[in-house]
Structure formats: structure tokens, C-alpha cells
């Protein structure tokens, strides 16, 4: 796979590891947050940690759209699907197992008879609505800036087609607002309990929004940002670039993913998004509570395709499980093993919190890929 395999090359990885080791100052610690779950996944999947010096620590940020989706939003979809037998909810596969109220999830609601279907793309949900005119097809849309333009597209198509049985339950959220909230959190800002030396920004978000929106953080909060691709060499290179900025006292927005990210981003997609969506005044994030201007809602001309308006859906905030530390983990304050439930009560089969759901969540990534690090391995007797 061209432009994929090259960026996973073990030989190059060793070279980058050497360079990082060489350039990292042994006299100090580096703590970088990879904002996005995609990076969390790459780090765990390829074992990037093993290639970093001990004084370079990666903090998993809140950048998994599944992880930050509050219980109350899933409840809205479940209530709708269980109360209206004519409704079909379509969503991306990752959302199906997010724990909601009453011990349910979309998957468990499906097992109770709700019509819940996994789609690969927003376009599939639209096509399903066309195929099943007698059903109400609701696309449960989640994601950051990358998945938003496709949702905008299908909303515009539904309008153009006058497709009355299609609607979108919109949960799209914004990356910069989330980063801002972390930077504004007392732990980072005042207490210093979370030493944050820089951010790795998600490349695919920037293919849409460009690199410019991060300039504010770099300048205002004096935090270096490197926008990086999702292959492990991209991540390592980004870490190296962050180390350099720290070493040199710089706080800039740098772009590691020059192969697809520009400063201004995808203007066509941006135009589409602002035609269809507008800012919500506030939105609840799991772990970050209410975050002002951090999410999108569907504009008035598209209200007929807005499931919240169409079905009169009410958001009711639901507290997370008390023992679940997702909130603190998403802010970088705690790690999965700080949670008492990790690996016993809370497992990928029975997730108690959202971080255990998606393989991009911090808890799931540690459970699936990193659990062995908590327990020393006994060497094989022979090999």
C-alpha cells in the first residue's frame, strides 16, 4: 500500500528513535498530548512507546468522538428507536457499544428489538432512507471536523431530493474548542498537575480546517503544536519536532503532514459545513462537562431533516458512573490504571465508561494493547 507501508517502516522507525533519543534532553521530562484517538491507536498498535526515551511521555487526549459523547446523547437515540418501531437508526460501528442509561447501549437496544444499523458512510444512511420509504431513517452523526462535511453533504442531498423520511441526529464537535478547554482546565493552567509541553494535532482534521486554527494556542498558551499524520512514523516525527520546539523554546504550529494539509484547509468543505451547520452555544462533553461553542447544530433551513426538531428529542444530562475516571483521563489528569474499575468491572465487553468503548479510547487502548506493561512478563524457559 503506497504511502501507507512506507510510513510504518521499522528501519526508519529505529532511525527516528535514535534521533529522538539524541535530541531529547536527558535532564528534563517531556509530556505531549496526542489530542486525537487516531494517534492514541497508532501509538498503542505499533508500540511507539517502546521507541521513546523514558523521559518522553505521551498523554492521551479527548480526541475520540465516541469517548466524548455524553450518555444523554446516546439515550436520545435509544429512546427514539425503542419508542418508534418505524425508526431505523444508522450510525458508525464505533457508537454501537457506548454505554448509556439503564444498562443499555445501541447494541443492546438492538437486541431488544430496536432497528439499529451500522453504516460505513453517511451516504449509506441516505441510500437506506431512499430504499425504505416506509421507515424513518435517522443518521446518528458523530465526529470531529472530518466527518462533518459528509454529514453536511447528505443533509443537502436530502433537501434537494425532498427526502422526508431521512433526518440527522447531529453530535458533531469541534477540535479547537476541546483543546482550549484542556488548556483552560485548572489542572493544566494553575495546578500544574498535568505538565503539558505540547500537542500533536490530528492531520485529517486539518485536511479540512487547515493548520491555522491552532495558531491561537501556540501564541496565547505558549504550547507547541505539530499536526501529524496517523502512521507511526508520522507520530514519531511529530514527537521529534515537538522536542525540538521545547528545546528551542519555540511555541509554533508546525505541519508534519505536508502531504495533505495546508494552512487554509479544504475551503469547499468548510463552505459546505457553514452552509448547513451553526455553532451550538454549549454542548456537553464526557469528561469536560459543558464546553461553550464546541459543537454544531443543523441550521433552520434544514430543520425538516434535524431529528432533534422532527421528533422533539430532549437532551437530559446523565452523570457518568461515579467510579469511572474517564473525565480525568480525557483531561490527561489520570491514566487508565488509576481507575479502580479498569480491567475488572470495566472491560471492553462490559464498558462502564466511554474510554473503554472505542479502540481509540485511552482505557480500551491500554486494555487491548498495553495491559502487559502493568505486569512484568516472565521470560520463556526455552526461547
Amino acid at each position: 500500500m503506497k504511502y501507507v507501508d512506507e510510513f510504518r517502516d521499522g528501519t526508519l522507525a529505529r532511525k527516528l528513535a535514535d534521533a529522538i533519543a539524541r535530541e531529547a534532553d536527558p535532564g528534563r521530562n517531556y509530556a505531549f498530548m496526542e489530542f486525537c484517538g487516531g494517534h492514541t491507536h497508532a501509538i498503542s498498535r505499533y508500540g511507539v512507546t517502546d521507541l521513546l526515551p523514558a523521559n518522553v511521555r505521551m498523554i492521551h487526549g479527548p480526541g475520540c468522538p465516541v469517548c466524548v459523547l455524553p450518555i444523554g446523547r446516546i439515550d436520545m437515540a435509544i429512546r427514539l428507536a425503542l419508542s418508534r418501531p418505524d425508526v431505523t437508526i444508522c450510525t458508525y460501528g464505533d457508537c454501537l457499544r457506548v454505554p448509556a442509561s439503564d444498562g443499555l447501549s445501541l447494541l443492546k437496544a438492538k437486541a431488544r428489538g430496536a432497528d439499529i444499523r451500522m453504516v460505513y458512510s453517511a451516504a449509506d444512511a441516505l441510500a437506506l432512507a431512499q430504499k425504505l420509504p416506509e421507515r424513518e431513517v435517522v443518521f446518528f452523526a458523530i465526529g470531529f471536523e472530518t466527518t462533518t462535511p459528509p454529514t453536511a453533504l447528505v443533509l443537502r442531498q436530502a433537501q434537494a431530493l425532498g427526502l422526508a423520511n431521512f433526518s440527522v441526529l447531529c453530535n458533531h464537535v469541534l477540535t479547537p474548542s476541546a483543546i482550549l478547554t484542556i488548556l483552560e482546565s485548572p489542572e493544566v493552567r494553575e495546578l500544574g498537575t498535568v505538565p503539558l509541553d505540547g500537542f500533536i494535532g490530528p492531520a485529517h482534521v486539518s485536511t479540512i480546517i487547515g493548520s491555522r486554527p491552532y495558531a491561537f494556542f501556540a501564541e496565547e498558551y505558549r504550547k507547541p503544536v505539530v499536526i501529524a499524520g496517523f502512521e507511526p512514523l508520522d507520530v514519531m516525527q511529530a514527537i521529534r519536532m515537538l522536542i525540538r520546539q521545547v528545546n528551542e523554546g519555540r511555541a509554533e504550529v508546525e505541519n508534519e503532514f505536508t502531504r495533505a494539509v495546508s494552512e487554509e484547509g479544504n475551503l469547499k468543505a468548510q463552505g459546505l459545513v457553514s452552509e448547513v451547520f451553526e455553532l451550538r452555544r454549549s454542548f456537553e462533553w464526557r469528561g469536560l462537562r459543558e464546553v461553550p461553542y464546541s459543537a454544531l447544530r443543523i441550521r433552520a433551513p434544514f430543520a425538516a431533516w434535524d431529528a432533534e426538531a422532527k421528533f422533539g428529542l430532549e437532551f437530559v444530562s446523565v452523570p457518568d458512573n461515579r467510579a469511572c475516571e474517564c473525565g480525568a483521563i480525557l483531561r490527561g489528569v489520570k491514566t487508565p490504571i488509576d481507575c479502580k474499575l479498569f480491567g475488572t468491572v470495566c472491560t471492553p465487553e462490559n464498558p462502564m465508561g466511554s474510554c473503554m468503548v472505542s479502540s481509540e479510547g485511552a482505557c480500551a487502548a491500554h486494555y487491548n494493547y498495553g495491559r502487559f506493561r502493568d505486569i512484568p512478563v516472565v521470560a520463556g524457559t526455552a526461547s
Binding site: 484517538g37 465526529g143 472530518t146 459528509p150 492531520a203 485529517h204 516525527q237
Partner: protein
């Protein structure tokens, strides 16, 4: 769901769609978000949509940077200014 992978356009299809190839596997995706993509171009694919084109020259340069990492030295500085 945060998958985004580069794939090569092998056929333009009606309705802003195209067929891409990834390692011999072909799939139909939407080109509605990207202008001017042509057969042979690489695009970044996410949930069935191309998000942007991939600049092959930049990709080669990035790989070259990685390769240089093995050599001690300050080769990186210049490159990063390039990229930001």
C-alpha cells in the same frame, strides 16, 4: 472511526464519485468534497469520502526527512520551516 488512508483514484464515476485502489482492493468513494481530482491522484479517504488530495512530492520529502534522521545533525530545522 478516525481512519484516514491514502488511496489512488483508478476511475472517475458519475455523480462526483470515483473508484480508488488500495493495495489491489477497490472501493467506490465520493469526490464531492475535493475539486479537480483525476485518475492517478492519491486522495485521503475517510468514511467513504475523499477529504483532500495527497501531494506526492511532499510525501517523498517527508520520507526523505525520516531517512535522514539516522544521520546525526541538524538536517531537520530547514525542513520544518517548510512544513508549518
Amino acid at each position: 472511526m478516525c481512519l484516514a488512508i491514502p488511496a489512488r483514484i483508478v476511475e472517475l464515476l458519475p455523480g462526483d464519485a470515483c473508484r480508488v485502489d488500495l493495495g489491489g482492493v477497490r472501493k467506490e468513494i465520493s469526490l464531492a468534497l475535493v475539486d479537480g481530482a483525476e485518475v492517478g491522484d492519491y486522495v485521503i479517504v475517510h468514511v467513504g469520502y475523499a477529504l483532500s488530495k495527497l501531494d506526492e512530492e511532499e510525501a517523498e520529502q517527508t520520507l526523505a526527512l525520516f531517512a535522514e534522521a539516522g544521520l546525526a545533525g541538524p538536517a531537520l530545522a530547514a525542513a520544518t520551516e517548510d512544513g508549518a
